[in-house]
Amino acid sequence: MNNGAKIKPGSTMERVNANLAKRYAKERRFRRMGLAAIVISLMFLGLLFGSIISKGYGAFWQTYIQLEIHFEPEDMDLHGNRSLEVLSAVDYGGLVKRTLREMFPKVKKRKEKRKLYGVVSNGAAFQLREMVMNHPDLIGRTVQVWVPADDDVDMLIKGHIDRHKPESERRVKDQQIAWVDELQRVGKIEKRFNTTFFTAGDSREPELAGIHGALMGSIFTLLITLGLSFPMGVAAAIYLEEFAPTNRFTDFIEININNLAAVPSIVFGLLGLAVFINFFGLPRSIPLVGGLVLTLMTLPTIIIASRAALKSVPPSIREAALGIGASRMQTVFHHVLPQALPGMLTGAIIGMAQALGETAPLLMIGMVAFIVDIPANMMDPATALPVQIYLWADSPERAFMERTSAAIMVLLAFLISMNMLAVLLRKKFEKRW
């Protein structure tokens, strides 16, 4: 049949053969277009990740300067008193300044001194204060301490400030560059892993700012969201799918749930402001309110996903259970729910991931704020990861740009691990019929 010579002119086969090449070409074109779409989206993703990582990886390293601090009791105005109040009130900034002056004895003029003090972060004073408060036996001794460098010096070391520009056009002055070079020569300056970034709360000094406060805020908020929206969402889904009669009322509820899933998140923020803060009088800026608002937001997503999971359980399972005399409740809880749970969990985790990235509703309830102390529970004021990113992106200091990208990386890592968990759970428990 395939032999061309035997095909009769005008037959179906001839017509098929005539446009065969065209049909193959059409398929090839479609495949190429599909592939191109994937390549383009991967390229954009790569571009996004590439730009964030190349901008942000630097923030995981911070420049430190080694200082030789003499904790001389007479310099510290102790008068023999070692109580915590006295230790707390010591002028530790003065100690740092004196050390710097000893390192560079040639600096005499007032203006020059100010420039010299600007090389070290003012976090150095806080660091010394903490050291002495925790170990009062340090007093009277000489200690080598690594303190964070000022953010401008950090930017210089990392090459983000061009030292060849005219002096008036950069924030680090010629003299400061000379001091930094001198410190570098004697090995008193080095880049270290930036643990502060993972252990500190927010700060206005980039070198002291950390993501820990925002991370805890996000975790508390998400715990509340998960704790409320998962049981409520699943219960609502089970009732609607397995028990509720089909009538106008349940139709109405179903339509409204679908509508709620599409409502812009800022509206939930306004609702939260009106209900939880203005009516119930809960304080502003706390993860409890944030969690409640995000619960409202994720609830429809979870209900819809859970209902889809329940629907995918074949009716034969229900019929078999009912057939051997199980009650409806037993049918649902012993047979249907275990089969639907992986799908429900996936839905919940995707809803959580969505809640994690949300800023707009948190704006309305005051979680967009400057909060230094790390929240210890869900009643302490807190921010969340995306809010921290927003706040840093808006800060004038150059070094915060790096921190912003690094915070995005932390948020992405959090998101990716949550999505991975969703995939793993599905792989582990999923059943196919």
């Binding site: 707390s88 100010r114 600007g118 003012n122 806080f126 204060r129 400030i161 061009d162 520009k165 008036s168 056009e169 950069r170 924030r171 700060s203 206005r204 000094e205 409320l228 409520m232 219960a235 609502a236 009732y239 939880f276 803060i277 119930f280 009088g281 809960l282 304080p283 502003r284 800026s285 409890l288 409640l292 005051g366 967009v368 704020a369 400057f370 909060i371 230094v372 102390d373 009643m379 004021p381 992106a393 808006d394 800060s395 004038p396 200091e397 150059r398 740009m401």
Partner: protein, 346 residues
């Protein structure tokens, strides 16, 4: 499900009542996004060097701050609000209506508003009148006479032949911003007043006068770039033909990328703003609710931290962040007011 909702509401009510009964142990601050970078530095310093908790600061804008601040007395309301302008009579009355009778006003210093462009382009030299003519919605007819026409100027050269022949393109803050208010009042109105017959209108019809002087054009020459000043700086870098409007602290931090235009012959520099020579600068304030002093721990101590020379003085740490300090005598007055919690009368 309905049952569950009622249970939830009940639990919430219980949580709520127990929450309000607990007093707050940190100072709550709201207000201007312009004062935010300064107040946060003070708050952090305060939190790290005293036994008090670090105050919480929300950036809500000056107007939003007064709204929250004046809502009432009690721990659920903020203790302090920051403002990039003075409290308005209407806001003061609102405060009084809600029982916030005693307010302490503290001026913290000055902020200059810079009109800047990329370092790749030539530095602009503008007068306030030129700014008004370039950016107002309606301007006096260039042909003469005392009539207003829709702003016809397309390039800077059309405004003044000494200026470069590039398209008028200015990126600036949206109407919710205090920076925008101050820009309209100081730069636009400042230039508007230079035109004799419009100035004469102020006495006759104040509303019309304000409308002429404060309305920015909407035909694309003035672009609202959002409250993010960093974004404006980045856009200026990418487009050397555009100008941007933002606070002095951003100019100070980005002096390698952008340059401030000379306004009436004065450059936006620290000394010029401090001496009051630079025409577009404004005072910054914060307001304290006296009724909360003693109820919320740390308010007086926070005031003391703010009003000390090591903070807002000529060499204080706020100057490193771009705040322009007040003259010593003025600082002293406000420090005394703050210490004595002097009540604001309006």
């Amino acid at each position: 499900m309905i049952n569950k909702r009622t249970v939830l509401a009940a639990t919430l009510a219980v949580v709520a009542t127990s929450a309000t009964a607990v007093s707050r142990d940190y100072v709550s601050i709201v207000g201007s996004s312009t004062v935010y970078p300064f107040a946060t530095v003070v708050a952090e310093q305060f939190g790290k060097t005293t036994q008090f908790k670090t105050p919480k600061i929300e950036s809500t804008g000056s107007g939003g701050g007064f709204k929250l601040f004046c809502a009432g007395v009690g721990v659920e309301h903020p203790d302090i609000t920051n403002a990039s302008r003075r409290i308005k009579k209407s806001e003061y009355e609102r405060c009084h209506k809600n029982g916030v009778n005693q307010i302490v006003e503290v001026k913290i210093g000055y902020d200059g508003i810079a009109i800047a462009n990329s370092k790749k382009a030539v530095r602009f030299e503008l007068t306030r009148k030129e700014i008004f003519l370039a950016l107002a919605k309606r301007v006096p007819d260039p042909k003469g006479g005392e009539t207003l026409v829709e702003n016809p100027y397309k390039t800077w050269q059309e405004v003044n032949s000494n200026l470069p022949a590039i398209k008028i393109e200015v990126l600036g803050p949206p109407p919710t911003s205090g920076t925008r208010d101050a820009f309209a009042e100081l730069a636009m109105e400042g230039g508007c007043k230079k035109i004799g017959w419009i100035k004469a209108m102020k006495k006759k019809d104040k509303k019309a006068y304000k409308r002429i002087c404060h309305t920015l054009r909407e035909d694309g020459a003035y672009i609202e770039a959002g409250e993010n000043d960093n974004l404006i700086v980045r856009k200026l870098e990418a487009n050397p033909k555009a100008l941007g409007i933002f606070g002095f602290s951003f100019l100070d931090q980005n002096s390698d990328k952008v340059q401030g235009a000379l306004i009436d012959g004065v450059a936006p520099e620290f000394e010029a703003i401090a001496e009051g020579k630079y025409p577009i600068s404004r005072p910054l304030f914060f307001y304290v609710k006296k009724a909360h002093v003693g109820k919320v721990p740390g308010i007086t101590e926070y005031l003391a931290e703010f009003c000390s020379d090591k903070t807002w003085g000529d060499e204080g740490y706020l100057t490193d962040k771009g705040l322009i300090p007040m003259p010593a005598a003025e600082r002293k007055t406000f420090a005394v007011n703050a210490k004595g919690l002097k009540n604001l009368e309006m």
